[in-house]
Amino acid sequence: MSETVAIIGGGQAAAQAIASLRQQGFDGGIVLVSGEAELPYQRPPLSKAFLAGELERARLLIKPAEFYKQAEVDARLGVRATGLDVAQRQLQLDDGQSLSYDHLVFATGGRPRPLQCPGADHPALHYLRTLADVDAIRERFRPDARMVVIGGGYIGLEVTAIAVKHGLQVTVIEAAPIVLGRVTCPEVAKFYTALHREAGVDIQCDTCVDRIEDEAGVAVVVTTSGERFPADLIIAGIGLLPNVELAESAGLDCDNGIVVDEYCRASVSGADVPGIYSIGDCANHPSAIYQTRLRLESVHNAIEQGKTVAATICGKLKAYDQVPWFWSDQYDIKLQTVGISRGYDAIAVRGDPESKSFAVFYFREKRLIAVDAINRPAEFILARQLIPRQVEISPQRLSDDTISVKELAA
């Protein structure tokens, strides 16, 4: 009898798992259970070209509808899984149906971390994760509107760049002393702060949102330092919470995400639980290169884990050992990051930030662990080649812009 794979969650990882399962010859049933109304779509453009109105809705789909038909995927859209019986291998769905599986893939992603302050239920406050979120934002996303962005991370700053181009007046409120502080170094943070300020953005660091008030239907964001920012639109981008509730309630090991091994297999109390896996933003996986567990929120990770889980299900175990990479487009600046800079103890800067083209190399115990390449695609490629080698590289050489990238790669 042929087997059934059930996938919960309909994002990038799910789409890739489906494609890879069929590519690897899996000929059983595939059921996709997604709480969203759409087939899997790309999220990165939501805070970039799609919000800017430069990309049609239909273009967002990762694969066309015909793909799922040909792959014979039973897509249950707008349906959520509410219960899981691990022993019986059965899912309970919120449309009243139950679903038996042989393999179950949690590709449940995450949801925006909610703002916890008085007034956080104000209708002007939005988050940006789904197409439905962008649709809601659109109504208030008008030239001359006052927008307050809470959180100076990638999402917040990307939305800011698009909003500025669209004629909105933007204030960014960041609790930390610098923007992008969780993911980058002060040099890069300084560069992006200057970039946005030049574009007319008011960036307020080192201050928190105390509450959101309402003055005759208009929201006012009040900071802990007492400043007041009237806002027609507020977007909070203060992190992502992995969707682990169902996994947790079924007894799967969870710790900042669903804990999996290098083959994307989940566990119960540290022991294998056959037939259950997790991939993408919700999966906390081991990283051989960084010698630690990681939970990554990126397209590349979602795609590669989708491939890994398909291989695992097809019995062709192939350990996940990717060096992560990310990108962020703001104005005419393309940031490409390779690796995880967390815990770095030294950096080397190559090129002059003033020229809007430079790269920062991050080291830990003399080993290169990450690179931020700003309008420097050659350094991005160099990093993807160098980091997996895990050899010692001289920071002085890397920061010498007269030595070509080709020589550095050798």
């Binding site: 790309q42 990165p44 453009p45 273009r59 694969k63 066309p64 015909e66 793909f67 040909q70 397209v299 590349h300 795609i303 990108w327 487009d329 393309k334 490409q336 695609p377 050659a378 490629i381 993807r384």
Partner: protein, 106 residues
Amino acid sequence: MAKIIYVAFDGVSRDIEVENGTNLMDGAVDNMVPGIDGDCGGACACATCHVHVDPSWVNKLPPMEELEDTMLGLVDSRDEYSRLSCQLKASPELEGLIVNTPHGQH
């Protein structure tokens, strides 16, 4: 509209009408042409939409920008006919263009 002829690694050829202004990576993904991933959605950030343009066409295409040229550095099978299909937009001038898609992307 331009008819683009995608030839897969196994020799199977697909004639696909791609709308003017739509890039050839999207044209391939929308029509399930094998061998093209387009992981970054056309941001020229990943180099997973590599194609080999038919030699007779290589000089008729708009020249590469530096970013595309550099990103192709990630591709092992790069040759003088290599392009990133997300950077090629369909136009009447490209009617009949033949591109060869690889077995898979890196």
